[in-house]
Symmetry: D2
Subunit: 347 residues, 4 copies
Amino acid sequence: MIVVIRRDATPDQTQAVVDKIKAMGYGVNVSKGEERTIVGVIGVHDNKDVLAAQLSGLPFVERVVPISKSYKLVAREGGHADGVVRLRNGVEIGGIAVHVIAGPCTVEGRAMLLETAKHVKACGATLLRGGAYKPSTSPYSFQGMGKDGLEILAEARDVTGLPVITEVMDPRDVPTVERFADVLQIGARNMQNFNLLKEVSKARLPVMLKRGLSATIEEWLLAAEYIYAGGNHNVILCERGIRTFEPATRNTLDLNAVPLVKELTHLPVIVDPSHGTGRWNLVTPMARAGLAAGADGLMIEVHPNPSEALKDGFESLTFDRFASLMAAIRPIAEAVGRRMAAAEAAV
Amino acid sequence: MIVVIRRDATPDQTQAVVDKIKAMGYGVNVSKGEERTIVGVIGVHDNKDVLAAQLSGLPFVERVVPISKSYKLVAREGGHADGVVRLRNGVEIGGIAVHVIAGPCTVEGRAMLLETAKHVKACGATLLRGGAYKPSTSPYSFQGMGKDGLEILAEARDVTGLPVITEVMDPRDVPTVERFADVLQIGARNMQNFNLLKEVSKARLPVMLKRGLSATIEEWLLAAEYIYAGGNHNVILCERGIRTFEPATRNTLDLNAVPLVKELTHLPVIVDPSHGTGRWNLVTPMARAGLAAGADGLMIEVHPNPSEALKDGFESLTFDRFASLMAAIRPIAEAVGRRMAAAEAAV
Amino acid sequence: MIVVIRRDATPDQTQAVVDKIKAMGYGVNVSKGEERTIVGVIGVHDNKDVLAAQLSGLPFVERVVPISKSYKLVAREGGHADGVVRLRNGVEIGGIAVHVIAGPCTVEGRAMLLETAKHVKACGATLLRGGAYKPSTSPYSFQGMGKDGLEILAEARDVTGLPVITEVMDPRDVPTVERFADVLQIGARNMQNFNLLKEVSKARLPVMLKRGLSATIEEWLLAAEYIYAGGNHNVILCERGIRTFEPATRNTLDLNAVPLVKELTHLPVIVDPSHGTGRWNLVTPMARAGLAAGADGLMIEVHPNPSEALKDGFESLTFDRFASLMAAIRPIAEAVGRRMAAAEAAV
Amino acid sequence: MIVVIRRDATPDQTQAVVDKIKAMGYGVNVSKGEERTIVGVIGVHDNKDVLAAQLSGLPFVERVVPISKSYKLVAREGGHADGVVRLRNGVEIGGIAVHVIAGPCTVEGRAMLLETAKHVKACGATLLRGGAYKPSTSPYSFQGMGKDGLEILAEARDVTGLPVITEVMDPRDVPTVERFADVLQIGARNMQNFNLLKEVSKARLPVMLKRGLSATIEEWLLAAEYIYAGGNHNVILCERGIRTFEPATRNTLDLNAVPLVKELTHLPVIVDPSHGTGRWNLVTPMARAGLAAGADGLMIEVHPNPSEALKDGFESLTFDRFASLMAAIRPIAEAVGRRMAAAEAAV
């Protein structure tokens, strides 16, 4: 951590800052430049942001510049190779095979889910998605089928062999969702619901952590660190678009984040072009772009009849369009030296 | 709700869309312009966003334009006058008197809280703030004193007579926090933690709902609607800055939101210039600006020794600076036809 | 254009709005919904944004919703197929062949430019980039070599046969730049420098229009419309990243824009991952992603010695890394049914 | 400037970076922390951003942290008191008196401008605004009356004694605008039109520089530095709202910028709540808030008949509403220890 001393500080005032930092138990390295003096603070381990705030409040401190990253366990720099998250049916996310997670935004009923699950499996998807607990901006909108939805998802897994991923929104629901699902999803709006993160950090199942609508990459990785530090090392990241000034798409899919996160961490990364664009006709090109940027998989909304979907109909693919997407992404996966994971899904 | 038909749709294709909408049970009004046909959908009450998504997915629909607001109970247009939220000690927020909520970001111990409470009361604050459960971006940072902190807050209330506001982050903690606090605070990161909103909608205490870091005003009011619709009509809004591209301040305090929200709803609005700027030396001018824009009160971080604060030291005011702030805002309150609420706090 | 009448307007007040719109010479279609009356305005051709502002100011008007797009000539909906922009040496941008525009951010001297031009040509680039007039955030930074730089660029074209693209910042410089360059570049900071747009709309050369840092897609297409409407139909768009809250990358490359702009217009689209990320190690994955999303070409910064570059050294590729990029993107181009344009560049 | 060395660099690799920096002619101060080594670079004067980019490109450099601000002449830290800009009729901006600049967005004709000028003067405005050259997002919208508009403005000054401020968009127009106006306005879209900045830096008239839609405060001050460094020391800043994700207001007026810019520079600051909100009914509260935050003046759009305005009708005040605004802001000016400048305008 570096403390920049104000230009108008006298030598005595500067020394007072140095003495204060030493009194807090840290080492210092003072560098007098032509315009300013800067003080390197040595031996900072935990509570970096607290220390930064404290030092910022000292007299004659212009600002404090943190140097080290504040996440550790998920950081690549520990020498980690690419991490692989293994699901209980043996599916591995983060290896050379690329996975497609597909299904409806929301479980609306048994028939539609089973029909969708069979179709996406036939097209090559290797995980099934579907929301049982749904975050809704309006209190008057459909909030999901709850436990009934979980049971339908479990049945679809039994029928198709596809492992199931579904969102958990409430720390009280974690045990229930664990009984039915194979991967716990933390949605974008809950990325900084820290008590929920702590709860899933104690779960047995892998967790897919979606990036918050306005979360910086550092905040996202710190949220992953919560799960990792709590004891759950099976964390998958999911880029799903950020909020910007652009009104033409629902979100701005930040694909820069994919290679950057691969550089900064050892965690696998999934891209969700359905939420990331909010428009079905952009899903296939952005799915291709996501794989080309280096993603380990994709998350795609598929619905038997999007115009009757109870949520997010405009971004869902029909069955035919999903089949076309699967055909369109295979050559991209191969062009980046990966392969589609379909074969492994045969259980 | 208005459906814009694509320019290249034939009359039959347009009619098919109209028939579909009618079959869903809605009335229609078709308007053929020179460039496009638009269809007004009549009789939409609930689930507006779902319907919009469904209609967007129909063939030959270019886009769907929602017309009515999706919040109702908190909307001003029902003819509501300015709402007033009354706390259990009789303090009223939203009337002609302007309130200052002051205290440390975090309860760090008994002595510092009592000292701060006495000071802010002496300066004219009418509510005491202090965090017992703290959202921390990093898992390695201080997470708050929990129930011990709540007990200290309650003691400070007993000593000073100031009602206490504190954050609740977890639906499981609502009953406990209710036992000790006078107002429940929902923090910015939990503005769309819908299960938490539902839980506090059943609480007996008023709720102060902070705006999310990247929440639109409509989303903020819909979050308030969750609380209102669940049965708790004592909702106070708090503007605390939004996330923008500007790095010089921690957040961008959006004061446009104050008069706009006063126009759109009947709920009282508080401004938090401490989080809204992240820099103590901007707090007083922005506190003045907040009142000038029409806020019903302010929320200010005060700490006996900001450079030793465990959180957010850089934005906290010292005791002296808080006294100066209180002196600086009084003429502004009077200039906009309000008065400082200090006298009422004498219990 | 649709006018939404306020809920509290009486029938007479609504009629007054209708009469006013009729008096302005437009047709109307009135639709009385259960909550609100909306008025469709028929026969609006030009000055849509002015009319919208005027109508918004009428009493009892809640808001005005524009329906038609305000750009026309560059819009796809006129039935246009994909447009192709042909340079004077016969190179075509927007066809099946994918182009790579490469070179240094800034022309720093004759030797470095010629060396770079030869290298990028050898690797398969088909256009040469290089700045002679440079927009610099600070007045104390290098502002480019000006006309001397243009002469060096022209020499590099003579030596390599690569057509040259370079930025013009000032309407007074357009004739000079036209004498030396093959494509005029309008930089992000000048996307809404309307007098400059008008000037290049009269130029003989094609124009590549970079998206502004915070320009919506609609504003970008309207800027292209300025050039098109002024008589220059050879317009190429370039997505180069937008400004968001994320500090880890210099800009957020908005690849959603690529398929969206291909849908909305007939203009070719180039992606610039060098400026779009600001980090050399993200350039290759994002170049791949750009092509996978459907771009017609890429713009890449290459420098013989990035750590000595006078501008933007951190995002430039070394010669070796550029060679690797060219190898890495070829399979992506083929995976999306395109081919690299290298062969055509042999002059 | 500080160079952070990567954790995995060997001592030899670190030494190589240090040697390279020394070879560039700078002093160094090496600080070995427990996690990382950081190198302070001493003696950096100009071209800081170029040097930062160069150093970032060195092997084993993790990142470069600039320490000093890159603007100098406009910086407060040189010991400057508050600056005052004096117009040729003696009006002073930046002193204790607060100014209101008022008038229509656009000069639409002689009668409307004279009528407006007389009204705003009668209400206490001390400068007249009005656009003769107008930036229009669409090529099909009104582009202003040009030189005819300037002549009308000059006539209004002769009649009322109010100095005139008007926008210049093109370096070629500066001499013409100088002949008619008293203050040159640089609009938000031209804040980084560097050739225009250089041109007005040589003008005799004061310049009001609006903040760009997505300009950071540092970029804004660097744009001011362009004008100052070119020889024109009469620069006034104008905050007019930034672009954020919020759709409910046209821009987000960033009042944090007001006290921050007063701290960082010695230049006067004006607030424009008309453009900053885009809604006439928010103009008065935000005008009050702007003065309360410490602005030296306000810029307000006034139109005799907003619903017939050729531009920005929705944000313009009627004559009556402007009179009310003037009454509403006076007590705020006094509450912050200022006074309204009206008396001085009597010429």
